[in-house]
């Protein structure tokens, strides 16, 4: 949580200083750089993230997978945690490059249902 706050406040500071926002690509890389730098310090972050954003100027959406070792990858979809073992299969099967927002929400619901059945989360 502390790491998340540090990142988000830095992003806000950037906007205030420069009058424009950081792009999702820049934010993802900034977060990764931060994680990677702290990895070999006495206080590494042990946070796995899934990042998502829409670039203001190009209106392009992007999803990133970022793990606690500082591995960053832009993907059509990303999962962190034990659920990933089940969900990646489901997402691979149902996700398409031209998927619509409604279909994506349905897919998300499918994933949650799957987790309830297989993973017994309340």
């Amino acid at each position: 949580r502390v790491h998340g706050e540090y990142i988000s406040k830095n992003i806000q500071l950037y906007s205030m200083r420069n009058g424009y926002e950081l792009s999702p690509h820049a934010i993802a890389n900034f977060t990764r750089r931060n994680m990677a730098d702290f990895l070999r310090s006495r206080t590494p972050y042990q946070v796995n993230c899934v990042l998502g954003g829409v670039d203001k100027s190009s209106s392009r959406p992007a999803v990133y997978y970022l793990d606690y070792l500082g591995c960053l990858s832009q993907q059509p979809f990303a999962v962190q945690g034990y659920g990933s073992n089940f969900l990646y299969g489901l997402l691979d099967r149902h996700h398409r490059a031209d998927i619509t927002k409604e279909e994506a929400l349905q897919l998300l619901n499918m994933c949650m249902k799957e987790l309830k059945i297989r993973f017994a989360i309340s």
Binding site: N18, Y20, L22, S23, A26, N29, F30, R33, S57
Partner: protein
């Protein structure tokens, strides 16, 4: 004038001036001129070279123009050794940004960060300010093509056309009358040559003494093109013909 207050860079004079900063600007006023014009489709930077001894071995491609990053170039006027330090620092700043964000650094941020460094030399440390003014030309996705100028005080501003170095006042007044909004690079380059011709001793403007570069944007890439000597000679001779014709009228 209170000369007692001018030897410490970090002291104000009773009139509220920082003499060391002003002296630094004097040093630049004697240095080779640099001119920049922001056209709608590119930026032209023209510089007067002062070092033209034929015994000099050409190690560097340019004397006064430097590439700072993929999207920015600068030209310097003033003490060359000071300029080298600043250009090196500018390159570091730009690359550090790129390392952190994996994106090219926006122009104004780069200029602003260097100017913050320059400002500290006018306030702390007891070291003299850098005797360099810089013209920065670059592109970023936020504001497109931009032209900035910074001076030893650490002040900077964005310009449509500006000039630093020797005879810059004369160049600025000419620019004020001749610069037109929406000027294209095709017209800006001859205009730059015209002004350089005017302010340098009329008979002495040769391609050897001039360094001219254009910064343009094509195919999603920023290009800095240094105009080759033959093309410069052609542009200069065209200007001289026009000048002679105007004199005859």
């Amino acid at each position: 004038m209170s000369r007692r207050y001018d030897s410490r860079t970090t002291m104000f004079s009773p009139e509220g001036r920082l003499y060391q900063v002003e002296y630094a600007m004097e040093a630049i006023g004697n240095a080779g001129t640099c001119l920049g014009i922001l056209a709608s489709d590119g930026i032209v930077l023209a510089c007067e070279k002062r070092i033209t001894n034929k015994l000099l071995d050409e190690i560097f491609e340019t004397e006064k123009l430097y590439r700072l990053s993929a999207d920015m170039v600068c030209s310097v006027a003033g003490i060359t050794s000071d300029a080298n330090i600043l250009v090196n620092e500018l390159r570091h700043i730009a690359q550090r940004y790129q390392l952190q964000y994996q994106e090219p650094m926006p122009c104004e941020q780069l200029v602003s960060q260097l100017c913050d460094i320059k400002q500290t030399y006018t306030q702390f440390g007891g070291k003299r300010p850098f005797g360099v003014s810089l013209l920065y030309a670059g592109w970023d996705p936020h504001y497109g093509l931009q032209l900035y100028q910074s001076d030893p005080s650490g002040n900077f501003s964005g310009w449509k056309a500006t000039c630093i170095g020797a005879n810059n006042a004369q160049a600025m007044s000419t620019l004020e009358s001749e610069f037109k909004e929406g000027i294209t690079l095709e017209d800006a380059v001859p205009l730059a040559i015209k002004i350089m011709h005017k302010i340098m001793d009329q008979n002495k403007l040769t391609a050897e003494k001039l360094e001219l570069a254009t910064v343009t944007r094509s195919d999603d890439k920023t290009k800095m093109t240094i105009i080759p000597r033959e093309k410069l000679e052609k542009l200069i001779s065209e200007r001289e013909k026009l000048a002679a014709a105007e004199k005859q009228k």
